[in-house]
Amino acid sequence: MDFSSPSPPMGSGQSPEALMEQVQAQLAQAYMEELVETLRGKCFDKCIAKPGSSLSSGESSCVSRCVDRYMEATGIIRRSLFSQQR
């Protein structure tokens, strides 16, 4: 996905297909940005107890694990909520 090139203003002589693609791309980017924001907060809280003059290797690997686990948690929650319709 290339977000650096300018895109035409929405709805100006675009085909419905192009418009739908553009909307989906923007929604996906917004979702990703929010996810990164969340990960920053959560993983900073869990992994960086006492900020030092640089990130230790322990802190770095904690952050990697944190990102992986949080993504996994998101999947667990999603399946828990949507695989059985209550």
């Binding site: 694990r65 992986d68 686990r69």
Partner: protein
């Protein structure tokens, strides 16, 4: 928006689907945030079975609680 596009049934359905998808994503994100705080102490290289069950239980209890709140509201 073009009047034609605004009445395009394909677009209308598409927007409705994307809206539902976005709302579902928001619910998942909110619950994941709370349940992560409750269930995960220090992120390991995989979840223990107690962490996994805590997470899936947490989501369901959150929904149970939502029903309870709505009922209470109506009393």
């Amino acid at each position: 928006m073009d009047r034609d596009l605004a009445n395009n049934p394909q677009l209308i359905q598409f927007l409705s689907q994307e809206k539902e998808r976005a709302m579902a994503n928001e619910v998942v994100a909110k619950i994941t945030s709370s349940c992560w705080d409750k269930c995960v102490d220090k992120p390991g290289s995989k979840f223990s079975s107690s962490e996994s069950s805590c997470l899936s239980n947490c989501a369901l209890r959150y929904m149970d609680m939502t029903m309870l709140i709505m009922k209470r509201f109506q009393q």
